[in-house]
């Protein structure tokens, strides 16, 4: 049996979703399913910041463009993502998985995370992909900072995502 192929990148650069998905089944005829996920920066996650911008006319919409900056722990972040995928591989059967997470400054609408899992069967591919995403959103060593007109503000750890990850616990 072939080993599960795991590839993890943490990078500032954007990525090509089509190329990444195609790479997981390239040159093989045993992959029946590639489940994938693209996470993007949502403007409304930063909407509380909009309140401090007094909107006078259409021109002012420029002032309500927000951004976030993502910091990580180089080395540990990659390790933790690889560990998450390896744990998924003990629960579901899949050939390969690709995880890409961006760091640095990101604007609303930009891609921030990508997870794809290639398997023979769609059930395994979907479950492993969602499992990896749930853990990634809660336990991976990333810290988010929102840009505000008054400067950066670090985001507190949330509880809602923890419950998404908790449902995988035995």
């Amino acid at each position: 049996m072939m080993a599960t192929h795991i590839s993890v990148s943490v990078q500032e650069a954007d990525f090509d979703v089509g190329i990444e998905i195609a790479a997981l089944s390239a040159g093989r005829d045993d992959v029946g399913a590639v489940a994938s996920f693209v996470g993007l920066v949502r403007a409304d996650k930063l909407e509380n910041i909009k309140l401090v911008n007094v909107k006078v006319d259409a021109q002012d919409t420029v002032d309500t463009v927000h951004a976030m900056t993502l910091e990580h722990y180089p080395g540990m972040t990659e390790k933790s993502l690889e560990a998450i995928v390896a744990e998924a591989a003990t629960r579901w059967s899949f050939f390969g998985a690709r995880v890409i997470h961006r760091v640095g400054r990101l604007l609303p609408g930009e891609r921030i995370v990508f997870v794809a899992v290639a398997s023979a069967h769609r059930g395994d591919a979907f479950a492993a992909c969602e499992f990896i995403m749930d853990y990634l959103k809660t336990r991976a060593p990333f810290w988010k900072k929102e840009d505000t007109p008054a400067g950066g503000r670090w985001v507190d750890a949330r509880d809602s995502d923890d419950s998404a990850a908790a449902r995988w616990e035995e």
Partner: protein
């Protein structure tokens, strides 16, 4: 013995330091002792005591504060992660 120490996110900003290499006093043999040793430097290092739910990793593994330290360990202090 000496260890390499990293600080991340809000803690890094509060301290104005992202990493340092520190020779430990002989009585500093655990993560908790290291935190207290650093916090005792006064401002801004008391942020290590005031950071809510301060987390620590040794050699890139999350650990408890009672974890023993060894020479050349990589120790990182940071606030709870917010995830990706």
């Amino acid at each position: 013995m000496s260890v390499k120490i990293y600080f991340f996110a809000g803690l890094r900003e509060a301290l104005g330091v992202s990493s340092e290499t520190l020779a430990l006093p002989t009585d500093v043999t655990s993560v908790a002792a290291l935190r207290d040793h650093l916090a005792a430097r006064g401002e801004p290092w008391s942020a290590l005591a005031s950071t809510r739910n301060l987390r620590v990793a040794v050699n890139q593994q999350m650990v408890g504060f009672d974890t023993a330290l060894h020479a050349e360990d990589e120790v990182a202090f940071f606030p709870p992660v917010t995830g990706g």
